[in-house]
């Protein structure tokens, strides 16, 4: 419909082309019977057209914000309007709906097909699988369609929309026990439980700002929780790495491929357990003795390297739980943060009462102390880590820091100091002449 040379250029090259996909959809939509669509069939073309204009002008053509949503909820829909509505009328309204994905994003085609039907009918036919937080992002619909979409999602698809605004955001987890030998707790189960248990927090804004949970089954961090969740749950263990000495030998002999074959594309030479495992162990707590691999588990920091290199020989311990870290976020305002370790180890078993108690204490403090639009991590920086742990009732442990403070600026409290702070200048001057 429009002249989109730059976009057509993007049809080339081996990587799946979103333009080629959009064009096939545009064609398809133009053929769909009108009763299969409740919104303007030209959405895809208009989207492409406006994108080309943006390329030409080097500027976005979406307007700032727009508060739309579904009744009784404070999030899940992002309002969006074109600032070229005359030129591209079918995307004049172009709101997104965030659908809460099932934990770790397994689907059956029944589900996906009802989604497709819904989005052909009431939306632009364009979507993201998935958004950065984890939601299914349905891109582009009109304000009138929002309530019907919500109705269908809840009544037909039997599920709910996701989060946006100053809410709990849609939690997300790694694939964990579903297909990973390293999951140290049940990430899906816990993600599901927390999502459902905290539906109210997810849908009705009561927080100072957004709040994200992410659940990583082990320190590999496949859902990147340490970089992008206000509260990161990462599986860990506190007993010993399990060793199968026969399998160790099989690696040494070259029977098993190191790192499960992940480096097979290049010839890195024969596997060398010393160079590839012992020497790279960050704590150097491994050694060979009498043909056996030994680990000083008290020194191990559970980095997963040796296990990743020799998955058939080494397995994490069996006394497992989570490390809880708080405060990751993107750069605005004070610079990006990674999550800070708050709880070194906690058991993570249904119904997770211990963890819920922790979560609620943190929220309570944040809702009381947090300023408007202040993320948890920013608040911890502002009120300081010692104050944060004190208020939520945790004792200080050296695990919380990389190193103790180097400045001596300790904020003592009055009750720490015998005799208190009130002193009499006259008594002082009795001892010390001016």
């Amino acid at each position: 419909k429009y002249d989109i040379p730059d976009l057509e250029e993007l049809e080339n090259g081996p990587w799946p082309s979103f333009v080629a996909d959009a064009k096939q959809a545009a064609l398809h939509r133009s053929k769909l019977p009108a009763d299969r669509m409740l919104i303007d069939p030209n959405g895809v073309e208009d989207m492409l057209g406006q994108l080309q204009v943006s390329f030409d002008e080097g500027e976005t053509h979406w307007k700032h914000g727009g508060i739309v949503g579904v009744f009784g909820y404070g999030g899940g829909v992002i309002g969006r309007y074109s600032d070229l509505p005359e030129r591209f009328p079918s995307i004049a309204h172009f709101h997104t709906v965030r659908l809460n994905q099932p934990a770790s994003k397994f689907y059956n085609t029944d589900f996906l097909k009802s989604l497709c039907d819904l989005w052909d009918y009431r939306g632009s036919g364009m979507l993201n699988l998935h958004g950065s937080t984890g939601d299914i992002i349905l891109l582009g619909t009109t304000t009138e369609q929002l309530e019907p979409i919500f109705f269908e999602v809840t009544h037909v698809m039997d599920q709910d929309i996701g989060g946006s605004g100053s809410n709990l955001r849609t939690p997300s987890c790694c694939i964990g026990k579903a297909r990973c030998e390293w999951a140290l707790y049940d990430t899906q189960e816990m993600c599901y439980e927390m999502t459902n248990y905290y539906q109210d927090e997810l849908h009705r804004p009561a927080f100072p700002y957004k709040f994200k949970f992410k659940f990583d089954g082990c320190p590999n961090g496949c859902v990147a929780s340490i970089a992008r969740s206000d509260m990161s749950f990462i599986g860990t263990w506190r007993d010993d790495i399990r060793i199968d000495q026969a399998a160790v030998q099989a690696y040494i002999n070259g029977e098993y491929a190191p790192n499960a074959g992940a480096h097979a594309g290049k010839d890195w030479g024969k596997f060398d357990i010393k160079k590839e495992v012992l020497d790279l162990c960050p704590t150097k707590c491994m050694w060979m003795e009498g043909g056996e691999l030994k680990i000083d588990n008290a020194e191990c920091t559970r980095c997963m390297h040796c296990i990743a290199v020799m998955p058939r020989a080494l397995r994490p311990g069996t006394d497992t739980g989570v490390t809880i870290l708080c405060g990751a976020k993107a750069p605005i305002l004070d610079g990006a943060q990674m999550s800070t370790l708050i709880v070194p180890f906690m058991k993570a078993e249904p119904p997770y009462d211990n963890i819920k108690e922790f979560i609620e204490k943190v929220w309570e403090l944040w809702m009381e102390e947090g300023r408007n639009r202040e993320r948890l991590g920013e608040m911890i920086q502002r009120i300081t880590l010692p104050k944060f742990i004190e208020t939520i009732g945790l004792p200080a442990t050296p695990q919380m820091v990389k190193a103790p403070r180097s400045n001596p600026y300790i904020f003592w409290k009055e009750e720490d100091v015998p005799g208190g702070w009130d002193r009499d200048i006259n008594e002082y001057r009795a001892r010390h002449k001016r």
Partner: protein, 366 residues
């Protein structure tokens, strides 16, 4: 009336419903895995069961048409099951090696009319996997660049690293179209970031109507915004350009302060971050190219700089060594030498925790 029949707080569907039988039966029982070839994994259970995964790249922007095609593949080969990874790849799971071959053949045969793959197989092990990214010009109001086009351009160039496992370790490339950094790309081996370089223009006419001026003022982390009056006495703000660091937080709070500008906007490249705790601790990416222009649609300079980084890394790093660990081992001064990137004053930190990044030792390389 809206309230009628209303169902709320249902949460997501329960994951169990969507697990293929082999996953259900071996849930929590996996013993080990192997990467059989790029994009193909096998996981072996303690029960002896195996599940084979074929991972395919995908543009995460997709259409209902494409999803229906994914369903077709899943129906044909996988009893109707499919999953998506945390980096927007598609995973097809089957329970035998024979099925893998049929599946692969089918996937490889599916192409868009223009010839690009619909389901390129790869993204496992020591290579480049899918580039996570954000909305860009497709859906957002604050981008300083476009996302999907840049990602497509870079992914085309890095395609062999996606389908191969030839690198020293995983290289995670991520993209965000403004400093809000949806996706938190700040811990990526390579991060591409849309970036403004002009202070907001002030829409004096409407600002007092559409924004809470005090909120706009306090939104600025560096105090560059102060109250002002227009010639005709309307309340407005003024911006000290030389203080502004173009973060865009004022625009987030107030639509009368747009930042976008064809000449001002562009891309910065960060490198050396990571998320895993493997060997070294997670770390932030560092700014290594302060700014490149938005050259739609193919961003040749961005692509070129990404290649320079990856190739220097591929040629020099040790096995298992992530990009940032390599840069730290050889020293950042050597990183610039080996990649051929230019070091400029923009790369020296001058923000809040800057002092911690300055060199306070005589240990350096010439």
């Amino acid at each position: 009336k809206v309230q009628e029949n209303r169902l709320t707080d249902l949460g997501p569907r329960h994951y169990w419903e969507y697990f293929p039988p082999v996953i259900k039966e071996n849930y929590g029982k996996w013993a080990y895995h192997e990467v059989l070839e790029p994009g193909v994994l096998v996981h072996v259970s303690e029960t002896g069961d195996k599940v084979f995964t074929v991972r395919c790249g995908a543009a995460r922007f997709m259409t209902v048409q494409h999803v229906r095609e994914i369903c077709a593949v899943a129906d044909k080969h996988c009893d109707g099951y499919v999953r998506f990874t945390t980096r927007n790849n598609i995973e097809f799971l089957v329970d035998s090696l024979e099925k893998v071959e049929a599946l692969k053949a089918d996937l490889n045969s599916r192409k868009f009319v223009s010839g690009s793959f619909k389901f390129p197989i790869g993204g496992t092990g020591a290579g480049v996997t899918n580039i996570v990214h954000t909305q860009g010009y497709i859906h957002c109001h604050t981008p300083a660049t476009d996302a999907s086009s840049m990602v497509k351009s870079v992914a085309d160039e890095l395609f062999d690293y996606f389908t191969g496992m030839t690198l020293p370790a995983k290289v995670r490339v991520s993209m965000a179209c403004c400093l809000n950094m949806c996706g938190a790309v700040h811990c990526s081996d390579i991060a591409l970031l849309g970036y403004h370089r002009k202070p907001p223009i002030i829409d004096h006419e409407v600002i007092s109507k559409v924004c809470e001026i005090p909120l706009a003022i306090t939104a600025c982390p560096v105090g560059a915004i102060s109250p002002d009056k227009t010639a005709d006495g309307k309340k407005t703000v003024k911006v000290k350009g030389e203080r502004c660091m173009f973060c865009g937080n004022c625009y987030t709070m107030c639509q009368a302060l747009p930042l976008s500008d064809k000449e001002g906007d562009g891309v910065t490249i960060l490198a050396g971050g990571k998320i895993s705790n493997r060997i070294s601790e997670p770390k932030f990416s560092k700014v290594v190219v302060p700014w490149l222009p938005n050259e739609f649609p193919r961003f040749p300079q961005v692509v070129e700089n990404v290649k320079k980084i990856i190739e220097a890394y591929a040629g020099n790093a040790n096995k298992y060594e992530r990009l940032g660990d390599w840069a730290e081992r050889i020293g950042w001064e050597k990183f610039f030498e080996k990649t051929g990137l230019e070091f400029t004053e923009h790369l020296i930190d001058d923000y809040r925790l800057a002092y911690d990044t300055w060199r306070t030792s005589t240990q350096f390389k010439y």
